[in-house]
Amino acid sequence: MDRIDELLLSELACGISLVEQPFDDVAAKLGISVEDVLLRLQNMLRTGVIRRFGATLKPNSIGFTANAVIAWNVPGERVDEVGMFFSSFREVSHCYERSPVPERWNFNMYIVMHASSRKVIEQSVKFLAGTVGIYDYVILYSKRDLKNSVKRGV
């Protein structure tokens, strides 16, 4: 990744504009050809620097109104197996192993689920728990997106 790649990423961090040839605008701003822009983007997608190029949707607007982190206490030797199993579900958008806090918080596996209702999340979690045989978990429903709702001066 060079300086132009960085500039390109920062240019696209806020998204493309809705014009017929959106990458032309970006190329003009950076003073490079549109072919170069496309090539650089494709390269960064291939190497994984860009995880995804596309639309970010507002989950509420399309019916995904329930969102939760589910924290699990998974025995150390089962972390890989359980992590891969949880990750195989489309409804699970994130799955991480994390260090717990000794004596205060034993949960070491975290998944994020989006669904149309809390009932659907509860059913899915019951299914996952039953399948892996792990019942020590906590569902942490999201109440408010603080990053997108709490702003200075508002």
């Binding site: 596309g54 639309a55 949707l57 949880f86 806090v101 975290y110 999201s142």
Partner: protein, 189 residues
């Protein structure tokens, strides 16, 4: 069938916009297979069997109705040096949540390489005794712990009100919503 808490939310009045099958296909393609070509809308229009102008005006409507937040690149922070990440949970009294959120949000727009990343990617109020949950990322363990200490100091919270849950292994990150047949109407916000 109408689905969606936003629509049922009795506190607010919403207008609605109807999604047809073309919109649903379009949303799926926009999320998963956005064409990195000179005329992306034309390529999408060929896949969808509608005109390029139709695609653009549908995308404009989906933006206007708040369904689409942005169309752009999502960077894998780990690949550009942000290798240390953690999830932090705080126990905050209800009347202090917004103040604490503001302090955390200041770290969501730190610039690097001209604005590619912020150190905070998520910040949510959750229904639990630990009620504020945010992710923090930095270029080293040291930088991460300095930043976390700085945040905690500003909030005035004590260590007993904090859970620091560093990432050991990432199994999956793929936020991609299946716009299913149950959703025909969306809220215009």
């Amino acid at each position: 069938m109408v689905v969606g808490l936003a629509l049922n939310d009795v506190d607010k009045k919403f207008n609605v916009c109807v999604l047809d099958d073309v919109d649903k296909c379009l949303l799926q393609l926009l999320q998963e297979n956005f064409p990195i070509v000179e005329c992306p809308w034309r390529e999408l229009s060929e896949k969808l069997g509608v005109s390029e102008q139709q695609v653009l005006s549908r995308v404009e409507n989906l933006f206007a109705s708040g369904v689409i937040r942005k169309i752009g690149s999502i960077v894998d922070l780990a690949k550009i040096g942000y290798t240390s990440t953690t999830l932090v949970a705080l126990r905050v009294s209800d009347d202090k949540i917004d103040d604490v959120a503001l302090i955390i949000n200041e770290y969501s727009c730190n610039v690097d390489g001209g604005g590619v990343v912020g150190n905070v990617s998520h910040n949510y109020e959750r229904e639990h005794e630990y009620n504020v949950w945010f992710t923090l990322t930095a270029k080293s363990e040291q930088e991460l712990s300095c930043m976390l200490n700085e945040i905690l100091q500003k909030t005035g919270l004590s260590q007993s009100d904090v859970l620091n849950l560093p990432t050991v292994k990432r199994f999956k990150i793929n936020v991609n919503f299946l716009v299913n047949d149950n959703v025909d109407v969306v809220a215009v916000v």
